[in-house]
């Protein structure tokens, strides 16, 4: 019995540490990247993957109790809300950017089709 407990604890701790590692990468990305959309990409990684791993680790450590159900709902909530808010910020950035050609290339549908044809 004790071995299973130990394995559970170690797995939970590993997942928690992995989540924290992803948070570290996120922080570096948020401070190093220069453009909004790049920074958002880094931040969204922490909001989905980092918090997901951390909370799954905590669920494993606490066992199947009411608390772990609440933690699971927190994951579900964040995975709903974080992409939606990222989408809104990205859309606002794309519509209000004054110099888009400096930061990214906007493909029209025809250009994309040509590109696909070339590749195929």
């Amino acid at each position: 019995m004790a071995a299973i407990e130990w394995i559970r604890f170690l797995a939970g701790a590993f997942l928690l540490l992995f989540g924290l590692f992803i948070f570290l990468i996120e922080m570096i990305g948020v401070f190093r990247f220069k453009y909004v959309l790049n920074r958002m990409h880094a931040a969204a990684m922490g909001d989905t993957l980092g918090i997901g791993f951390s909370l799954v680790g905590l669920i494993l450590m606490s066992g199947f109790t009411f608390t772990s159900l609440k933690l699971f709902f927190v994951i579900v909530f964040l995975w709903f809300s974080s992409p939606a808010s990222s989408h809104l910020i990205a859309r606002l950035e794309v519509t209000t950017d004054e110099e888009p050609e400096k930061h990214y290339h906007k493909y029209t549908i025809r250009e994309l089709e040509e590109k696909l044809h070339k590749e195929a």
């Binding site: 909530f77 709903f80 809300s81 939606a84 989408h87 809104l88 859309r91 606002l92 519509t95 209000t96």
Partner: protein, 321 residues
Amino acid sequence: MSRKLSENEYGKTASGRLKRWLDGDKDLFLDNVEMRPQKPFEEDEETKAKRAEEKKRVLKKVYDINNNRQVRVFEKIYRVSAALFCVLLVAMLLMAISQLPAIGEAERPVNNEVSERYIENGLQETGSVNIVTGMILDYRAFDTLGESHVLFIATCTVLILLRIDKNKKKELEEEQNDSIYEPENDAILQTVAKVLVPTIVIFGIYVILCGHLGPGGGFSGGAIIGAGLILYLNAFGFEKTERFFTAKTYKRLSFCALACYSLSKCYSFYTGANHIESVIPLGTPGAILSSGLILILNICVGIVVAGTMYTFFVMFRKGGY
């Protein structure tokens, strides 16, 4: 309209008059006070020159440091005494600090009988499992009432400052409308909001109702419900929200909640001051319907906070609703 009386007859009854008064339909100053528009201040050149000359003369007589010996002496004394006062103040504060009891001493004033009493008798006297809620809504309910009023007054001030006149609104919208870039009717946001808004509101209600059983209470739960309303507004626009929440609704809700809070606290102060047994039962600790007035007060605070959050957002984004 479900009422039996017609609109005219209803206006004559007491409740009809109260409703009219709350809505502000009747202007108290109209027909009673003569109102004149304010005139801009004007004066002719002669009096203007005269006044300037007088001012110059007074300044020369009173504040001329080079010729007025009294002013010179006063200036010196003022600077010396200001420096002395500062030194004295610093010395007094340092002395007070040196006389403070050391950290961790059992005789410190922080470790007095009040906190002991809260911890030992809190559950018995308030019936609330969460001692913090028992403290802020029972022992110190007067303080919380003031906080709710501060929120209400802050919203009233924001309403006064940011409200845009309805006649001027159309011109403003064309001139300085920076909200045209905001995503409208975004399919992704609407789909997410359909799932999240009910969840958030239900969670807020849960936090309010369980304020006396665990962490939570009126302030946090109200903030959650307000955030849910703001999400709903962002997803579906003003036409949808204005069907159930306008400035009038907010005023009525806040008024009712604050009046309910004040009246129930009046009752408990009255019974407490006169040593009368309160009729409200404390119930069994741990049940939802327990701990006397705390549940009602939590709901009142929650309503005020939720309305305040939503109203702040609307006023800063659109200026009136």
